[in-house]
């Protein structure tokens, strides 16, 4: 039958997904620490094309794609705007990846001299969910629970560099967080210490393979590797009293909605035209 119908329908399904991802970006335009997603489409179902001139010989003359699918939806990790709130446990991360040889573009991508693509590393806070597993987050709107531990909005415990929950012995308003993530008693300027007498510092990890992180919802990312804590040379700043706004560009998202809708419309037009072609074949060809 007419294979174009399948191609057009698969493209409609792909466009539907692009629309859903854009709708989700718009939905999270005000979610602190949210990273926008974008969809990558791919041509799929490769059918070989053969030229047959005689009944004995068939020559391979290439291939054609019969479908388009939504291949993946990577996150766009670009820095969101910082918004000052003044709350003591609102914390934002600002990071400028530095590489002597590579310059990253706005999407965090760079091309190496050998032509391969490198992605900029990103930094995250480390939290522990109810199951005791580590998750990464950029959402720093924290509070304190009844036991004095710092918790994220999802209820996950915020961890320090020793991967232990942080228990505050002082009121959150008396906590100062330095630009390197160390917790200091604002009244005495002495570092806050944990049960073992060691100074408390927020765990901030640098993830080099950012696209290996899996989105979990509730502003959390599932790590896939043991990522190192940030080193002194990493240009990371921990901003206390600020939050990192969502990096969704609503203007672009609005345009994406329109283009997705129109692409959908165009594809359903194609289906209708092909249907009319079939109609001719069924009802008119061979009529005497």
């Amino acid at each position: 039958m007419v294979r174009g119908i399948d191609a057009a329908i698969s493209s409609m399904m792909m466009t539907q997904r692009r629309h859903a991802i854009t709708a989700n970006n718009i939905a999270n335009a005000n979610t602190i620490g949210f990273k926008a997603e974008h969809m990558v489409a791919k041509a799929a179902v490769l059918a070989p094309l053969m030229r047959t001139e005689t009944s004995e010989s068939a020559e391979d003359i290439g291939a054609m794609h019969l479908a388009a699918i939504a291949d993946e939806a990577p996150a766009w990790f670009a820095q969101g705007d910082l918004e000052e709130t003044g709350a003591p446990l609102d914390v934002a991360l600002a990071y400028r990846p530095q590489d002597a040889e590579l310059t990253y573009d706005a999407s965090g991508k760079a091309v190496r001299p050998d032509g391969t693509i490198a992605y900029a590393p990103e930094v995250f806070f480390v939290v522990q969910n109810a199951d005791g597993q580590e998750r990464y987050t950029r959402q720093g709107q924290w509070t304190v629970d009844g036991a004095g531990r710092i918790v994220a909005s999802s209820g996950a415990l915020v961890l320090d560099v020793n991967r232990q929950p942080i228990t505050l012995s002082v009121s959150p308003s008396d906590v100062r967080i330095t630009e390197r993530g160390a917790l200091v008693d604002a009244r005495t300027s002495q570092p806050l210490v944990d049960g073992g007498g060691l100074p408390v510092r927020l765990a901030v990890v640098r993830v080099d393979d950012v696209h290996a992180l899996v989105r979990e919802g509730q502003a959390l990312w599932v790590p896939q590797a043991q990522d190192p804590l940030i080193a002194d040379e990493d240009a990371v700043t921990v901003w206390q009293g600020s939050v990192e706004r969502s990096n969704v560009d609503v203007g672009r998202a609005s345009v994406d909605l329109m283009t997705a809708q129109r692409a959908y419309e165009a594809n359903q037009r194609v289906v209708q035209w092909l249907d009319r072609t079939l109609e001719k074949a069924v009802n008119e060809v061979g009529r005497v």
């Binding site: 409609m12 539907q16 997904r17 629309h19 859903a20 991802i21 854009t22 709708a23 989700n24 718009i26 939905a27 999270n28 335009a29 005000n30 979610t31 602190i32 949210f34 997603e37 990558v40 791919k42 799929a44 179902v45 479908a67 699918i69 939504a70 291949d71 993946e72 939806a73 990577p74 003044g86 992605y119 509070t143 304190v144 629970d145 009844g146 036991a147 004095g148 909005s153 999802s154 505050l168 009121s171 959150p172 308003s173 696209h211 899996v214 989105r215 979990e216 919802g217 509730q218 502003a219 609503v250 609005s254 909605l257 329109m258 997705a260 809708q261 959908y264 359903q268 209708q272 249907d275």
Partner: protein, 268 residues
Amino acid sequence: MNHSMSTSQVAMRAVQHALDVIAHNIANADRYAFKRQEVVFSDVLTNRVAQHGESERGAGRWTLPGITESGGTNVASVRAAFGQGALVSTDRSLDVALDGQALVAVVGARDGATSWVRGGSWQLSPVRDGLMLTTASGDIVQSVDNAPIVIPPNHTVRIDERGVVIAEPQGGGLGQEIAVLNVRSVLRFDVLERVSDDRFVLPQGVQEGDVFGAPTNVTVRAGMLERSNVVLVQEMSALMLMQRAYQLNARALISADAMSGMVNNLRG
């Protein structure tokens, strides 16, 4: 069926919640000792699905197998901002405001349950042996000894900066310290449960010592009231932002609806 529709609908509900909170803040901007609230949004993930024919990681693909099906946004929590409100002078000796991060204990006249307030326009209610100090809504103000504060007849009352209640005989004479207000510093404000716009209680299972500490850096200001910590300009800009967010989500919903319409009319 159409994932965009549920995403937008869920997000509109969350934004509506945020609008409600902002409206509540604005409505209470002139209420004494009101603490503003704000919502914390969080993204919702419904699923991660594998796609037929998707490529391998590395071979033209950035991420691990599968594609996320996200479900919009919801309100993860509503936080109260415990910032100090401006103090206004009223010259009424029973108007009490707290300067500093603290609360003062009161007890319900009927149920006897302890709750915590930021001060307010207090009253004197007649009891058998004098006048008892109560809040405007009739709750009994507690002393550090967890007892009601009763002012003997023919005395006027004065409250000093440390929260000491002094009864002075009418017509002059030496004042007498009769009680100390149960003022406590709040260490973990986020734990407290808000029962009304100016009253907080300890949630079940939480001990008083987990939340409160001895009063430090607190001044009791009699003859003053604390205004709300709502900044109207801030609320209005948040309101505009949320209204636009609502509109954008509605736009996405309309667009998803148009796409469904196209499928319905595919047969022409």
